[in-house]
Point group: C5
Chain length 372, copies 5
């Protein structure tokens, strides 16, 4: 994962947000009874799959398939179970899983509502946590996000994600190779590792945003165009949406830290404090870039007004120098019969000299005004 990310930075992938109007939560659920399960995201064709890891320090079994029942047979109360539902568009399946493990209908509603803001809720027997997960689609050079939900139950962690492809390959490796502490600890630890991984990815998202902002700043200083302006607006929009996705995170992680649930072991709290600390750092970075961006917008405006000044100066200098000269030429182009100057021998060179003098006088005037 690490290497791929490093390689793909140059083109600076953009965030592609769901268009507002794509969300259709409102239209379908008004007046519905609470807990009515309605999937509000894009319909997908791929089949919903389930991935199950069941492990303790000694043994690990894993399976990934679209055959739900088979997978769930792996479930073992006495070991740690990670049940990963990949795809939310099969509402019946979600419903079945929910029933089997007695998850609250309101919880399942939030799992399916892809525009749900990040939140954490302690339901007593389990803790619910939902967040936006950003991940990079290597082929399309685009940074997408999806709605992902975690449920921490006794010896079990559920994970509901919109589509296949996630950030957890490193965790899978560690599970399979029994590397580090991960196989020796309870479900709360892997629950923490998931959240930590998703939050760490935000650093990457923000770094890429930062690069784009720096590029735009350079562009504004060198040669601002309408394209620059539209890109500034695009970045601004992304910042607004990132902020909206990340801001409530502080509160949710705090909810977990403050919860005195038995599901969380004592020493896990310090780990969540660490995640909390990261979240705050990310939120502060966002605020910083927001300030920075509004500074760049001001810069753009002032630069535009400077250019206008520049153009006006050229126009004014040209007009102001030549208009009186043209006027003088116009006078001696008149056809009056009695214009004594016309007959003087030196009249032409004198007129030309006067024009040169006028021009020089103008140039001095502009020098003084510091327009030249």
């Amino acid at each position: 994962m690490k290497k791929k990310l490093n390689v793909s930075v140059p083109p600076i992938p953009k965030l592609s947000f769901r268009r507002f109007s794509e969300s259709n939560k409102a239209r379908e659920t008004i007046g519905q009874a609470p807990g009515t399960l309605i999937y509000t995201g894009k319909k997908r064709e791929e089949k919903v799959e389930i991935e199950v890891f069941t492990y303790n320090a000694e043994v690990l079994n894993e399976m990934r398939s679209a055959k739900v029942e088979e997978c769930l047979n792996l479930y073992d109360e006495k070991k740690v179970n990670w049940i990963n539902v990949i795809g939310l568009h099969n509402v019946d399946l979600i419903h079945k899983v929910g029933e089997r493990f007695q998850l609250h209908p309101l919880l399942l509603e939030d799992v399916l509502h892809v525009d749900q803001r990040p939140k954490a809720e302690d339901f007593g027997d389990y803790i619910f946590f939902t967040i936006k997960m950003f991940h990079q689609n290597v082929k399309e050079d685009e940074l997408n996000y999806e709605h992902i939900s975690f449920v921490l139950g006794k010896n079990t962690v559920f994970c509901f994600q919109e589509k296949s492809g996630d950030l957890f390959d490193l965790i899978r490796e560690r599970l399979r190779n029994a590397y580090g502490r991960i196989r020796h600890r309870k479900a709360d630890y892997i629950f923490y590792r998931f959240i930590d991984t998703v939050v760490d990815q935000y650093y990457l998202v923000i770094d890429q945003l930062a690069e784009r902002i720096e590029k735009l700043e350079d562009e504004v200083m060198d040669n601002p165009t309408t394209k620059t302006l539209n890109q500034l607006q695009a970045v601004r929009k992304e910042l607004i949406f990132l902020r909206r996705s990340i801001h409530p995170l502080r509160e949710s992680i705090n909810t977990i830290i403050k919860s005195e649930s038995k599901l969380l072991q004592e020493d896990t709290e310090r780990f969540f404090s660490d995640v909390y600390d990261h979240t705050i750092q990310i939120v502060e970075s966002l605020e910083t870039y927001r300030d920075l961006l509004s500074g760049i917008m001001d810069l753009y405006m002032n630069t535009a007004s400077n250019r206008m000044n520049e153009i006006m100066k050229v126009l004014t200098i040209m007009s102001t120098i030549f208009i009186p000269l043209t006027f003088i030429a116009g006078i001696y182009g008149m056809n009056f019969q009695y214009m004594p100057e016309l007959e003087y021998k030196w009249a032409y060179p004198v007129a030309m000299g006067v024009m040169v003098l006028v021009a020089i006088f103008m140039l001095i005037f502009f020098k003084r005004k510091k327009w030249l």
Copy 2:
């Protein structure tokens, strides 16, 4: 209801707010004793009607008519009663209902004051909740709102709305068909369902606003006109008013959650938490669109200034190229007798050549300035 809403989206209905000056609360009530009942909304001609549903798990009776007494006879202390007063312009009727069920005069004052901000108040024997309800007038393709108040008493829910037509048809269906939990639960559950339905509708309102904002953004980028500007201002105004209507909602719903009233059963609290969560999500969306809109306003301004630059450039280039040329032509249009150049054979083509050179020099100058 669902389908109609989906169909009517294309023209994007606008919110039509009461003009400020239509409110006449102030003028009529200054110095009046507290609890003086004055209806502050538009006078309507339709008759005030009362709709009563009386039900338990087994039986349901309903009636809707302008004959108040008849309807109220349906009231049965031992069942759940929903008393829906449709129309607030008959102050006497409201007064009578208030007296019969011993509602506090200050409560009735708030029911009749259509500009009242959302609030919840626990009166001990009953809980008062008022909110703005948005609903779509299908004929006029316009999204209107009205002032609606709920009172949760023992086995009774009162509902006071400005005019006929509301969002509760789905609830009526479920009541009649005894579908779902609704007939098995106490009055607090239907009270919750009303509030939930009204709040859910806000998603729709905001979605439609979002669509209009996106359209305006595209317009600003492509071809901003004065009309675009006026529409931006209109949307901004709507956002301000929506915010004003929705912001206090968080507090009111929290008041209900925090109230330890016996009228609310224990498990209803989680439902209200869910509504609270929706309210926060709505408020955050509003803030997001606010930020977005101010970004679009900036964009408009910068785009306008870019266009000005564009115009100035064309003007300056044209003037700057032709003014010196015209000056040269002016010189040789002078009528001095002694202008030796005039008689040279090649004078005319040379003069033309000089002009072409001046023009080329100018063009190079502009190329360098990056104006071309």
Copy 3:
């Protein structure tokens, strides 16, 4: 009162604030001992009068006169007393009243300090409340305000106002006619009624402001002028000052609600809660109009920039079309002896044709740029 207000709306009266520099509190009181009584308002010529109402459910005595002693003789410990001091410019009289009823010198200082911000203070034996009272001077079509202070003591309410004319005529009527609850209740009720009346008047002030803002918005959209701009600034100033006068009110009324003074009967609290609710609604309205106004300012700016664009376009089109044409005419106005074209028969019509072609080309160019 009601009807007069309705009638006088059309010309939309303006608020006339004390010019900042009229206040002279600072200059006179620096280094003075605390409680030194100095009147900081305008000196008035009318004599200070005292109005006394003494009543219980059965009897009512009233008197209004400049003879203080005589009026105060009406005072009766066992009844409810309303002592209304009309005019603050007679410091000695205030001092005398203060001494007779043992009011704290710091309280009297605040009574006389007309720029005092709204505040409530519980002095134990009495509660002090000061507020700005807006009232309409019917003759001058102007909405003035004055500094008014209330003191609620045992069976007594004091009222100190700057000048004669107030909003309490309706209350006087009710007292005289023993209409409603007012004669049956203690002093705290009439104290509440005064404050409620003053606060209700704010709705009117804000309604009138709203009308003016709406008018200005229409003007900005239709035909903004410098006058519009100055009026916008004036309204903005009024909003700032209104906000300053009304903002602290929330806190002061809350002070009364929270105070556990024996002077306030238990059921009066709900009335004050109602006033508190009104205050919040007023403050929110102010914020709304503030937002609205800043939106209108933006609109003004953008409209101005649109007009500039419009003007620039006309100038540029005219110049750009005619400058090359004039140049061509200039060429054939040159007096070179050897200009073969001049002698061709069709030269003139051809030259004219070329000019027409250039003009058409320009027009097409502008059409493309969407300037036409």
Copy 4:
């Protein structure tokens, strides 16, 4: 004092702030041990003097001299002592005073640090209070400020000021003449009187600022120039610095009110509440003027843009009317041999007529555009 202030108002004195770069706290104290005494203000030549007042209800002794020991001999534990150190540039002397009365080194550090923000600190045996004192230098018509610190100990009040000249002459008079309560009360009362006097002076400062802001507003409306703009910026700067000096005051005075020190007698608290109230009023005024000023800045900008419009309109009208006329004249100035019109008898008047018609048409066009 009072009268002088009234007289010197007309020219509206300006605040002269220490330039940022004059402060040299940072450079001298980095890495120094805490409590190292370094004076960070301007070096002065005048000698540091000490002024001592020792009094009770019966007796008063006073002395002012540069001979420190002599003055301090006046100190009498049983009476109230006011020890006023005039000048901070003699660090040794401050050190000596500090040692004699056992003042904490960190306190003395704050006394000498002239850029110290207002603060109050309860050291147990004494209360420390530091504030900026504004006073008017009558000769230079300028409003200066200095750093002043107060220490309230048992029966003693210390006062450390930067230079001679303060606001306490009225207090000195009252002490000498035993006028009012002042000689009958403990040290905490005179401590309060000092702070009250310094805070009251802020009203004056803000009044003068208000006058200047009003003048600038008039100027912006009538005839805004670059000078106006620079003055607006100057006032803005002053507001920022005033705010910075006054804002922390609320907190410091609150610290005194909340402190349960035995040094403060019970009834002094109400006096400090009064000062607190003044502070809040001053802070609110500052916010008001800040809002007002930013409104005036907007006004300036819009007025400038209006003037631009005005200029553009004149330019455009002149150009647009004359450019086509000049073109027509140019056509008949061409020297083609075959221009039949030239020979027609009525050609000249017809051409002139056409020009007049074009001009009239243009004028009508501008009338319609509302540019005339």
Copy 5:
């Protein structure tokens, strides 16, 4: 140190911040186990050194070398130990030190993460504190910062800095010379002295920023250029980053003050309160400069618009005076055969006179418009 700083002020060194994109925390650590040690700063070639001071009131030993083991042998539990690790790029060494003194892996992670925001954390056995240290590179006239972390353990203070060169030479001197209290006190005192020294340096940073802001303000008033604008943007950026580095400091120092750790002696608290006070003063200064800077940006914009006005006025005056004159000249340049005026003897002087009159009329018009 003191003197060098004073000398190098004139050229006003700039802050050089890490470019955003230089940080590579995100890319390397996603999905890693917590406490995985990864250095996120610039790779350096110099060897990591360790400096150890071991002292009590009587004895002091010091050593600085790249041979870690040797240095750590100096460690003496019963004396105070200052262990200064200079250079963070040798992750193994940090790991070894961490293991030997049992520091938590998450703490070491923060030590190595050079973009870590300031924070303080109480780990029970030790207190962790991290901050940005600014110091001046005398050769390059540039103000750099580095990430520095402190750990206060029992009798031990650890210090981890990015590179050699710090602000602690004065402290080293005092240690060696046993000057002042420093050798007599516990580890918490030297811990405080380090933090105090780093915070005091911020005053210097802000003073230099202030000087640059003042210079820019003068430039904007006198002769604003594009360079000025870019510098304003640069300073703005620096302010944003300074703010981000300094803001969280308040909270961290407060964490230390509030912690009831046994590692901190009672009287050290007052010292930390003093540091807290400095931090607040620094934060307030930053806010002040922020306000000031945005004022200067406005000034820039308005000045630019004033200059535009100025240019437009010159252009308009020149055009408006000469365009009608040139038109008149053009008329008499027409070649109509029947133009009676051409033959009049006084026609030429009369025409000239008319032109002069038109010019005078224009000048009067402009005088009236106050454009001259």
